[in-house]
Each structure stands twice: as C-alpha cells, then as structure tokens.
Amino acid sequence: MSKNDRIFFEGSAAYDRGRKLKQAVFFNLFRAAAAINGMALLTIIYFMVANGWRAISWEFLTQPPMESMTKGGILPCIVGTVCLSFGAIVAALPIGIASAIYINEYARPGKVVRLIRLGINNLAGVPSVVFGLFGLGFFVVILDMGVSIAAGALTLGAMSLPVIIGSTEEALKSVPDTYREASLGLGATKWQTIWRVVLPSALPGILTGAILGISRAAGETAPIMFTGAVFFTPKLPTSIFNEVMALPYHIYVLATAGTEIEKTRHLQYGTAIVLIALVLGMNMLAIFWRARLRKRLK
C-alpha cells in the first residue's frame, strides 16, 4: 500500500462513520414522518369510534332522525350523500376524461394547452365554499334547479374536475407510446388508437383517480350546503330535483346548529364514523377495482 493509498483509507474511516450516521438520521426522520401520517389516521378513527360506537345500530342506519334529531337514525343523510356522490361521478367523469384526452392526445402543445392547464390548476385551488357559492348562483338560481341533488352533484362534480383531469392525464401518460405507434402503424386512426388501445390500458388509473376525487368531494360540506343539502327532511329523494340531507352537512348541523348539541354528541360521532366508513369504502372499492383491471390486462 503506497503512502497515498494509506492516507485515502485512513481519512475515509471517519468520513465513512459520518456519512453512515447522516444516513441513519435522515432515514429515521423520514420514518417518523411516515409514522405521523399513519398515527393521524389511526387517532382520528380511534377518537371517532371511542366516542361514537354507542350510536351505531341497525336503527341508526335505517331510520330518519327523530325528536329534533336527538333520536333516530341518519338514513336520509346516507342516501343523500350516496346520491350526490353518484351524481357527481356521472356529471364529472365524462367531461374530465374528455378534457384529459383532448389535452394529452389531441392538442398540440402550445399557448392554448398552457392556458387550459392554467385554468385547471387554478380550479383545483379554488376554496370549496367558493364552489358552493358558484353552485348556488349558477345551478340553483340561473339554471333554476333549486336546492336539489342535481345542483349539489354538479357543484361537487365541478369541484372534482381538476382531480379527475389530473389523474386521467397521469394515466394516459403512463400508457407507453409504443402502443400508440403500433396501432397507428397498422393504419388505425387516432381515435381508434385512443378508444381501442390507450383507454383500456389507462382505465385502471382513470377509475381510481376519479373515485378518489369523488370520495374527497363526498366529504365536503361547503359545496353542498347552499346547493343540495338541507337541514332536515325525513323523506327520501324520489327525483334528482329533490333536496336531500347529507352526512357532512348533518354533522355540521348537529355540532353547531342543533337545539340540543350536548345530547346529540354521540350521534355526531356516529355520523362521522359512517361518513368515514363510506369514504374509505369507496377508496377500497377503487383500489380493488384497479387491481382487478390490472390483472386482466396482464
């Protein structure tokens, strides 16, 4: 070993200890950050369940609220939230997917596309209460839908559009260009290529993104409080122009505007458990669905 080699190796021992320590410190920091995330979810769920499990019963899930909402169940809220979410999917999915296809597959990159992207990004940053006011002004008043499932669902849909467009674009980008080239090379038109090759491959990603976007919107209160949800209605909706109760708004009402807030405390937590279960359930469904579609493509 020459003198230079020795210097190099002796010098590196301390250096080596240093960089290994550094690595350990940073990895543990990251680990802690990830753990905080998991803990937050667990804490929320624990808190909800500990305070609200007494409220959960068959009656709670199948009956309307009774006696100034201090008794009875939350069936109209569950039905209302399901209707609003479903309506939002129906309204937003086609528009969102179509926009993403246009931006990603058809439009030549340039000013127009940049402008559209800017619009979408800004839409994503608009506070939900502003969407609520927009829904009130546009759907409820100008289009004269009244406070209804239709108006609420369209407002939620508008709010989820940026998420749906974003996730669809990601899904489209993940389809290898070689598929497009192969298809075009066989004399397929651009649309045939998109419809028969690109979309089927991108479908798992599109659907998960869409459902995640909608399930996020399903838990929102602000967009529906002026447009679709009401304080109290024991009837279940029979048309899309009926007003409904909804889980997030019901929690808000019980916790802030009820006549006997203390008495309904366990009902508030119970409703929150149902809402979280519904949202998590939708997410699970999305993940399960994606896994199945992916398997079929393999």
Partner: protein, 263 residues
C-alpha cells in the same frame, strides 16, 4: 409513337419507394441532410450506421411516424409508387396500412394473441369473422410462430417470450397486407436464436414485400439484405449492393465503420 402498352410498362415505377433530398428537423436540429435513395420492390435494404446517425429517423419518415413528434419538420419528397406521401391530400392512415412497421422493442398490445393480430383488420373495417380467423392464422404462419401459439390464441400476448412477441408483432404487421415493411432494429432486444428466426423470416418475406431494416449489427445487414445504405451524422454516405458495400466500399467512412474502426 402509338404503342400505349409499351408506354404503360415504362410508366410502371421501377422503385417501390423513393426519397428525394429529404431533410428532417427536430426543432432547430437538422437530423437528416438531403437524403436521396430508392427502394426496389421485393428487395431488402439495410440501413446501417452508428447511433444517432439518423437511420431510424429516416425509416420513420417513410411511414410518417415522425408526424407524432410535435416539433418535427420534413422537407423534400418521399414517394410510394410514385405518389408523394407528404402531399396534403394524402391519407396518412392509408399510407401506414400500406407501409407497415415493426419496432425495436416488441410491443404487443395488452390483449390476447388473436386480438393482437386481428387488430389491424378490425380497425380497417373488416368484420367477417371467418375471414379474420383465416387471415390471423395465415399471418401467424407467415411469421413462423403459428405452431408455438396455435393452442393458446386466447391467452394474453404479454405471456410470450421476447422473441415470440417480436414475431407476433411481425404477424400483426403482415395481417393488413402491407406492401412495404419497415423494421427498426427488430432483433436488437432478442437472443441469438430468436434473432436467427427473425432473419430467416426476412428471407421468406422479401418474396412478397419490400423490406427496409435498420440494424446495428453489421453481420445481420450482410446476411439479410440485398442493398445496404450507410448513414453518418444525418447524411447518407454510401448506398449500394450489400456485397459491394461490405467488400469494396467506395468511401473511407464506410470502410472505417464496417471494419469496426469506429462507431
């Protein structure tokens, strides 16, 4: 003067495809400099040259695959049977049906083996089931893969080996009965045995098709082609009979490349 039959015979273009002073730009970068070249029917032409020399770019000009690159630009002329393929009136979809392509990496669709081969027929509006069935079988046989897949046509194509996938892609290209087949390093991702199969296949295919193949492998070019063209930094340096190019190249750069002195 009055010999129309003879005249018609003379009118028949001698070349299946030609390019005349073809320039190609990626944005400001000029990737091809005035490439002029002719391809005779039922011949195999090999395009060789070091990486980045423009041979793949040139190949992709021949079925306008470069149209997909937004910032690209073409100048000059490319003809198929004497017709300008960059003319505004030309239907690029029809062009690509006539000028098929096999890519460097096997790229079967995530569909069944049958669907992969039938795809080109379906998109071209052929719905007759018996006909499609027949054409799929014929194409798979032509691509020398029928015996390996005939019992599992309904399995996914992604379960095949790399070499099988590439032959499937060739079958897929042949199913629409192209007149010219472009191959972009079709064997570069394959092992020697699969490569040999592809080369044998090219030998058989040239009876029916005009084949233009890009390859990095000079032995391969020597084995499969009738004509060889050497590209260097976006220019066509030399083109001629494969035998001549590999034994008595006229240009020093060609000689240096084929003898392995650079590239």
């Amino acid at each position: 003067m009055n010999v129309p039959a003879q005249q018609e015979e003379q009118m028949e273009p001698e070349y299946k495809m030609s390019s005349e002073n073809l320039d190609f730009y990626y944005g400001d970068f000029k990737a091809l400099h005035s490439v002029s070249m002719d391809f005779k029917p039922c011949e195999v032409t090999a395009l060789i040259g070091p990486s980045g020399c423009g041979k793949s770019t040139y190949l992709r000009c021949l079925n306008r695959m470069n149209d997909l690159i937004p910032i690209s630009r073409v100048e000059g002329k490319v003809t198929l049977d004497g017709l300008d393929i960059y003319a505004p009136s030309l239907d690029v979809v029809m062009l690509r049906r006539k000028v098929g392509m096999v890519f460097q990496k096997p790229n079967p669709f995530p569909k069944t083996i049958f669907e992969n081969v039938a795809y080109g027929l379906w998109v071209n509006g052929i719905k007759d089931k018996a006909f499609v069935q027949e054409r799929v079988e014929e194409s798979l046989k032509q691509a020398a893969i029928w015996d390996e897949v005939k019992d599992r046509l309904q399995d996914t194509a992604l379960g095949l080996s790399g070499g099988q996938q590439q032959r499937l892609c060739i079958a897929r290209a042949l199913a629409v009965k192209p007149e010219v087949v472009l191959m972009d390093e079709p064997a570069s991702a394959l092992d020697p045995i699969a490569t040999q199969k592809i080369e044998e296949l090219i030998h058989q295919l040239k009876e029916t098709y005009t084949i233009i193949i890009v390859t990095h492998n000079m032995q391969q070019a020597a084995r499969v082609s009738d004509v060889t063209a050497f590209f260097y930094v976006g220019k066509l340096i030399e083109v001629g009979d494969t035998d001549t190019i590999f034994t008595r190249p006229k240009k020093k750069q060609t000689e240096d490349y084929i003898t392995g002195r650079f590239g």
